[in-house]
């Protein structure tokens, strides 16, 4: 499988399972759609989030070692760094016998959420830009 697809799949699963950590899929009826009941299962989507995080980390380290940081782009690397760091702290917090202060917990959660939203927005902007560029090339021909 192409390396870019590993990244895309990991990010898509992370996005869905990440949003599922908030109580929205049940409230907005998504979980009532046949086949999507799992979106309201917090423990299942939490495990899914961990599996996708493992996939992302595998891809990230592989890509960094093979192609270097420049291949990823500074902005994406910074956002992924914030996401991975805050995610790692959250994962540590979930282990038995590991506790952080309420303020740390809150700041880490908010930063994780903000980094995820920024990556999502950046991906949408990039997608729109690529489409606009492609349309321009077609028009020039």
């Amino acid at each position: 499988m192409n390396s870019a697809w590993i990244y895309r799949i990991a990010m898509a699963v992370l996005a869905v399972s990440g949003v599922a950590q908030m109580p929205v899929f049940k409230r907005y009826g998504i979980a009532s759609i046949p086949g999507l009941g799992w979106t309201a299962d917090y423990f299942f989507t939490h495990r899914l989030h961990y599996v996708a995080a493992a996939l992302l980390l595998f891809w990230l380290v592989r890509r960094l070692l093979l192609d270097g940081p420049a291949a990823l782009g500074k902005a994406r690397l910074a956002l992924l760094g914030a996401l991975v760091l805050t995610g790692a702290i959250r994962m540590l917090k979930n282990l038995p016998d590991v506790d952080f202060s309420p303020l740390t917990v809150m700041l880490v959660d908010w930063t994780h959420l903000a980094a995820a939203m920024a990556i999502g927005l950046a991906a949408l902007v990039m997608l729109a830009k690529r489409r606009a560029d492609a349309r321009e090339r077609i028009n020039r021909r």
């Binding site: 950590q21 917090y42 961990y50 599996v51 493992a54 595998f58 979930n94 309420p102 880490v108 959660d109």
Partner: protein, 328 residues
């Protein structure tokens, strides 16, 4: 105050302060100066409830309500209309006097049952899990567990999504709509109030006092102290008196341990259960699977590095072979 701690307990106010690591805080209060000199143990504090002593008088419930009444929600009415249609507000403000179940206005309730001819009363509140799913899985950082073992929800931050109640094996936290941060963000579209539950009287403990329910009990039902010591005490009680324990292993271990003269399976079958009336069934560790997967996350970067190394080695070998081929 010490007279309120179980007479056969090795736990004293000094030990309590020590285990809560509040020596520094206690130093701020002249009357607590002795406690300030104690070293912090760093362990979790638990409570052990001897149900053979509980007479169901309700003094603990009354003390809890009196002490925490100032922190009860004061909803702004009318409550917001929620989207999508069908989403319901939860309003207990007209049922403030209800102490028959857990509500945002009642953080401790007593369940009663007669089992094997014995009447047993069970004070119920947050179990303060050692690895609490409510605090681990709150997506907004409103719930957390302190080093002391107390699990708390910040009412200024909570959005009232009630995920903590959904993932709590006992569905302890209770929601009141019309209060909290969500009113200032998108009240119709996201959030639905604030979740409330016992926080073991954090404000009282910070002043060097015991939780109100512990102090008010005329039967000294509750002992407070380091978890490992109380767990050992509970096991001794069960073995010497032939009783049963709950909370030692449930949900990975809780900082609330019950000792009962009758089996908990029978108590669970006999008590009234439902919203605000928690069960007493055995509970597996909710976080166990996620924490096993944490190893996969930890090892993933190493797998990524190994994969890169393998690809790099293959490239080098391939280029060597090409060079050798061109020489021939």
């Amino acid at each position: 105050m010490l007279k309120h701690i179980s007479p056969d307990s090795r736990i004293t106010r000094r030990t309590l302060l020590k285990t809560l690591g509040l020596g520094g805080t206690a130093a701020l209060f002249p009357g607590r100066a002795r406690a300030a000199a104690l070293p912090a143990s760093g362990g979790e504090t638990a409570t052990l409830l001897d149900l053979s002593k509980c007479i169901g008088c309700g003094a603990c419930v009354e003390a809890c309500r009196e002490t925490n009444g100032k922190r009860y929600p004061k909803p702004i009415k009318p409550l917001p209309t929620l989207l999508p249609p069908g989403t319901k507000n939860e309003d207990f403000s007209d049922k403030r006097g209800d102490d028959t179940r857990l509500t945002p206005y009642n953080w401790l309730t007593i369940q009663s049952a007669t089992v094997d001819g014995q009447e047993v009363h069970i004070p119920r509140r947050c179990m303060h899990c050692q690895n609490p799913p409510c605090a681990n899985l709150c997506p907004w950082g409103a719930a957390s567990k302190r080093e002391s073992g107390t699990v708390e929800i910040d009412p200024d931050i909570c959005l009232g999504g009630s995920k903590c109640r959904d993932v709590c094996p006992w569905q302890i936290p209770q929601r009141q709509s019309g209060v909290g941060l969500y009113l200032h963000i998108l009240p119709t579209m996201a959030g639905n109030g604030v979740m409330f539950k016992c926080d073991r009287c954090q404000d009282r403990v910070a002043k060097g006092q015991l939780p109100a329910c512990v102090e008010a009990c005329p039967q000294s039902v509750q002992s407070v102290g380091p978890r490992d010591e109380l767990a050992a005490q509970a096991r001794r009680m069960a073995s010497e008196r032939g009783g049963y324990l709950y909370g030692l292993e449930d949900n990975g271990g809780t900082n609330t341990i019950y000792y009962s003269p009758v089996p908990f399976e029978k108590l669970n079958a006999a008590v009234a259960k439902g919203p605000g009336k928690p069960h007493l069934a055995s509970v597996a560790d909710s976080m166990a699977d996620s924490n096993t997967l944490a190893w996969a996350v930890l090892l993933a970067p190493l797998a990524g590095a190994a994969s890169a190394l393998l690809k790099g080695t293959k490239k080098i070998l391939a280029s060597k072979e090409t060079k050798e081929g061109s020489h021939e």
